[in-house]
Symmetry: C2
Subunit: 207 residues, 2 copies
């Protein structure tokens, strides 16, 4: 039981109804991303989050009961943002392989601007294993759907399945770790070209 449980009044609706409430919630989630990203779940504190957000402690408890709860909300929030970033990139109709490339570029850009996402998703494996699974299963499903659509349109191989989606996701996640989070040196378009060329033709020398 956290202190949160002791001080919590009857729970109001936790979804903000006013614009001001939405802004406060946004500030808390953004502050939580920095706090958890920098200090890790165990060292992070609720007062650390409200201090960074510039909100009163009471505002925190309007929306969350505990550190666990805002952590889970944050994982959801980040998962959603990655999805949104990809959706923007995929809005335009493109050939299947170009769509995969565009999705990767948008992910790499997002990861470079939100380097804390890796620590947060990775720590989720320990803090909330179910959300961790959920995040990757959802991501793989979206890739799988795109592959199926690409095969239907005759652009991709017909035998592509869930495992191909996991292979592509792994490629993207590790390229992001190395070239978006650990280092800013490489051009993200170059990294995306390179991943795209693996999907287009493999790595064997052409006969």
């Amino acid at each position: 039981m956290t202190t949160a449980d002791a001080r919590k009044p009857n729970p109001p609706s936790k979804v903000p109804r006013t614009e001001r409430g939405r802004k406060t919630l946004r500030k808390l989630l953004d502050a939580a991303a920095i706090e958890f990203g920098e200090r890790g779940f165990h060292e992070a504190s609720i007062t650390g989050i409200t201090r960074r957000a510039g909100t009163a402690l009471g505002s925190f408890y309007t929306y969350f009961d505990s550190k666990d709860e805002i952590f889970r909300a944050l994982v959801d929030d980040m998962s959603g943002k990655v999805r949104e970033a990809a959706k923007d990139a995929l809005r335009e109709e493109r050939p299947a392989l170009e769509a995969e490339r565009a999705a990767l570029v948008s992910f790499l850009r997002f990861a470079r601007e939100h380097k804390e996402i890796y620590r947060i998703i990775d720590e989720c494996e320990f803090v909330d294993p179910e959300s961790f699974r959920q995040h990757y299963q959802t991501t793989a499903s979206r890739i799988h759907e795109r592959l199926t659509e690409g095969a239907r349109r005759g652009e991709l191989r017909e035998d592509l399945g869930e495992a191909h989606a996991w292979a592509i996701m792994g490629m993207n996640v590790f390229l992001g770790l190395r070239y978006a989070v650990w280092s800013d040196e490489a051009g993200l378009e170059d990294i995306a070209d390179l991943a795209s060329s693996i999907l287009r033709e493999g790595i064997a020398r052409k006969p």
Copy 2:
């Protein structure tokens, strides 16, 4: 902790000199894999490790000063075991793409038998970030060397670099998470065939 500390080998006094000592150390590391794998770093305890190992607490302190120290030793140990498993698979001379396939099969087999490896390496990102980096950088370097050798022999594209190695490593790690750790259903040879076919020809439909 500095890089130097993280990479420092056990001081000479701590390397077992007798066969019995080596067995005790092995028991402690195997017990630590289970303890950290099941309970996570924060919940794991030294007495939990010695209980599982069936050794006296004093034996623990013969080889390690702290929970942190055995955790770092364990990451080194697992990293080394993965490397050894791959080395066995690569002993035979094979064409480059078959070598990558063999390395993946050996990794998937290892991960299925030591499912705790993912939790331990992943938690390392938080407990000992330097070892975490080290583990993946070393793995990527080994893949990169094999790619370079394959290109030199005229089997692989000549433009393959570090980023290709990271892409392949990511593919392998995520296939392992999904099909070796989370589920035992898929045939590991099938998963390796599928990854191999991506490297051989990509995912586009043949014209």
